[in-house]
Symmetry: D3
Subunit: 237 residues, 6 copies
């Protein structure tokens, strides 16, 4: 039995609120249950040095955790003077996932930065970040398109992410903190709307996991992603 | 005429939402018009090294700006590897203001950290932060009191803050970004509920200001503070 | 009675020694009693990135405290790897104060950096820094003028600074360390030669201060500034 | 056809040289073809702060790339002042993999640090690092055991890692740099000697990958891991 | 002919001013011609971690250059966020030189920090720093002795330093900036009052130097050191 | 008697292995007994900012110590976030030594970076680094020459380095760790093939050393350098 009483293949209530703040080109509050991540998309008319003159754009991400977002206060990375390994790992993942959804040459020589800041953490912050950031990216690109700055629509399709794991011996979908902190295996899966895999990151927390468990988790992930891409479509409709 | 059509002595709509997130001991979303600052108060059962064994507690603050909170994206300080001068200046101000409201020996050997993170910026973020942080501090102290951990109630009284300035030759109250970015003089005033001054920080942005203008601004500040302390009381009632 | 036996409205002996070192374009040792701050002005023929092509110059300041300048040795910021919040706050104040005295377009596309390093600290280092830096700025600008590099004299007028406070219940002028460390209220005031206010920064250290006390402190500040601008004029004569 | 002329399921020649340097408790040069990683294991008689008094040990890893190890010189992270995201990601992976092989309470209150430094890079540095570090960890633990410092042998079993990917449409095993830099999908797999999965990290570099491709890659990984654990056993025999 | 018209074996006027500032336990302004270095000695009643419980004290040094001390403004290391290689090299040299003059067990478990800050640079700053710091160290130790805190006088003897070089083909003593910046060879020599060598650091700036040139430089150094130790003795008399 | 049973004027077995790794333009493993330093030379077609447009090239060096190279694990500088003073001092020395061997205008507007990473430390790492780096520099320059990119051969001659010291009262050549850690005096000498001195750095570790001891050490150094330049020539033959 899951602490939240959910069925093994049941995700938490998902809410994607567009236009949540007013300055950024795209701004989405992504909620997976009690997890709340503010995803904003900002456009800059330049590319990083390694892409100068390459005739393409760039999509990148930064991730942060507000100090008060967790049960125990998390030290502020700006005050500590550097981003930790977990932060860098997550923001690299978000960036790769969103680049997989983007036709970078069609974007033109500009950069979209996706800032994903966790306002409240209850497990699955990186998957909420990716799922919400895709909507923010969409809205920022739509702003460019509406301004007549794009010749081709650069969004290749939808991308969403969900966590799966083995909790108390059972494969479960969309772990909250109570499950995540004690799960035997924890896996994050990024997929597109066609069921194609973008990223799979699975980690045994104690004992190794089997191919059969991996298969069960991937099946669950597909179930969850189907609902998330539907939620993305619904909020854009 | 002010860009917002407000009267010179008119503050923006103020909203203080308690319990806005669930993990921190105190959590308040402070809104002054379009400015939105999330203020959380966290308690740690230890004091900084310079207070060890001194038989008193400590109240401190940290301030941050989400990258997407501003018209132009603000670079993330955690990624740049340090907090800027403006950030340090503001968080030192918030800390001093809240310590002025606290009986530190009565707090006991523990630290309350007030994290003030700007979700959306439209001028006056530091004053919204102080005004909201006071409520978050109250709620954190109440949690300690309700847990039987305090012998004496450590809150000495209310503290709130408001900006005043000279805009287009006229002293005005509670500047928004449109005013703040072009004002001749900008002043932040922290006061208690009895009209006592805690902090006055006034800066001439172009030409110097006169004692008469200073007086007019301080009169306006008192008008604003009266409404803010009433708003604090209302939300605690 | 003040520890130094001074009258409440009596400043310490002020000495501004021009040409104190020989390499910098302006070099002034500013002494307020036992407080000694070396202020040098250096000219660079470029402006910061945010002003490139803007057709104006820039005036900025950096502040430092020699480790041996204080009763207890102060840790060297270069060794700690960053400037502290107090340092950044002070150097931002000095920069704003001196920019208020400068016609930046008349300066041309160059930067004057005012380095204010405290050789010996006894209270009021930031006010001595501003008062001395103004003379160093004057001398650097005079060097540019004498070299035929300026079409218009860019100095708009004099700027000086003094501290005031409430010590043992009495408003006093130009606090030394013995007063500063125990004062109830501490305020720094930057003014021009016409009595215009450039910056007012007042902080209640324990109990709040009243409008009456604020007024008394500002009156004292005006008395002090009058003497400081006279001292600046005298040393330039 | 693979650039190296290898069959799709053929790994590069693997060499694990024990005792490659003399000071560290374990020291292994791990070579996967032209990739050479020096893995040393050092023992310290203390644990990180978060484990003090917890009655268990810790295994951690650090990863580095010598500047001359790559085709283009890689900037030295010590000179740049921080470890990059890729480095942190890899060393966190190595640490997790080796902890999965260790009975931390049996280790006692001490830390084994596995330093994996790439002397020459040709793809697969993190998998060579994990495979070699396991042998270095074994040797360091053996030194502790031979010194009578262990009551229980803390090594739970073997752990090894291999990369798989989809190159030119074909799933292949143990990618070298020529393949890695152009592969459509890149996956690193950490397994134990029983075929249990410790970590799976797969990334689509351009187009998404299918479940069928994932299965084919995992099958290949199992083939490779079998040979690596045999190589580990052989060198320990 | 030397730019300064000095004879090859002629040092610049040396002035060592004791008690130059009032807070530090020792405070000396060391002037070698136009080079001016403020040397302060501060005492802390603790030792660095690596000496805890070792029953001895420690002497260490830090070196800094005020930004306005040089012809072209030198960037402030505190603002850049780290001390440069030249700074670290010099302060390590000063520390070693002064430790060579101190009986560390006799000092007791305390640390003397020698801060050497260059107020004006004209060549030879590190040699002026060592020569002046020795006097500051003496005065700090005398303060300890006068307070009855020392059983044995910890100063083993005098230490001083001078630069020598080959300028325009001729070995010369005590190079100023005009010589130092174009000399073929530059050498710094630290000696004690008995003519014993503490440190020799010679660098060919263009062509190699011969043993004969080395010998000539060391002879000159001995001439200079004799005068410096006499100056130290004179100022202590 | 030396711990290694060597005669006072006997160096350790020296081995310089060219082409030790394959990507860098020059790559040499330099072994002085158990000390092993990997020296790679990398070429970049640009110069540092201070040389832009100066019509010359640059040679620079970076030094590192692998954490497992020493008896006690050395903390990784990349993880600590900065290079220590010892590292900076050594890499500055290596850079100066190799620049003394190079005709920088003949190199053209390019930079050769010599990375010297210690794989195993047993005393004399900086001297092994310089001696090996010279061969790596030679090979990198030869690659440029063979590619027709040089008009003039930029190598001015050979440069090598050796340590000397006073151990147990006797001057000895090429100290290993057992000697180095207890020697009374430690000196590093860089010379060219003609016996010219490039750099001399001698430090008294306890008592001062005499001119006679200095002479004896320099004589020994010349003996050692003769063998090192012969070894360099042999490996290039």
């Amino acid at each position: 039995m899951r602490p939240s009483q959910r069925a093994p293949d049941e995700i938490r209530p998902v809410r994607l609120s567009r236009g949540w703040t007013q300055h950024a080109a795209g701004s989405v509050l992504a909620e997976f249950g009690a997890t709340r991540v503010l995803c904003t998309a900002s456009i800059e008319e330049r590319v990083p040095p390694f892409l100068r003159g390459a005739g393409q754009g760039w999509v990148t991400a930064e991730y942060g955790m507000l100090p008060g977002a967790t049960h125990e206060r998390t030290a502020r990375e700006a005050a500590r003077g550097k981003q930790g390994g977990r932060t860098l790992e997550i923001q690299r993942l978000i960036g790769r996932a969103l680049r997989a959804a983007t036709d970078l040459p069609a974007l033109g020589e500009r950069t979209v930065t996706l800032d994903c800041d966790v306002l409240q953490a209850d497990g699955g912050t990186r998957t909420a970040a990716i799922t919400g950031a895709w909507v923010a990216l969409h809205d920022a690109l739509a702003q460019l398109r509406d301004a007549g700055l794009l010749e081709t629509w650069p969004l290749l399709g939808q991308v969403a992410a969900i966590s799966v794991g083995v909790f108390a011996g059972t494969p479960v979908l969309d772990l909250d903190y109570a499950e995540d902190s004690t799960a035997e295996t924890d896996m994050n899966v990024v997929m597109n709307a066609d069921g194609g895999l973008i990223e799979v990151q699975g980690t045994a927390e104690g004992v190794a996991f089997s191919r059969a468990e991996l298969d069960a988790m991937l099946d669950l992930a597909a179930v969850g992603i189907t609902q998330l891409v539907a939620a993305q479509r619904a909020v854009l409709a």
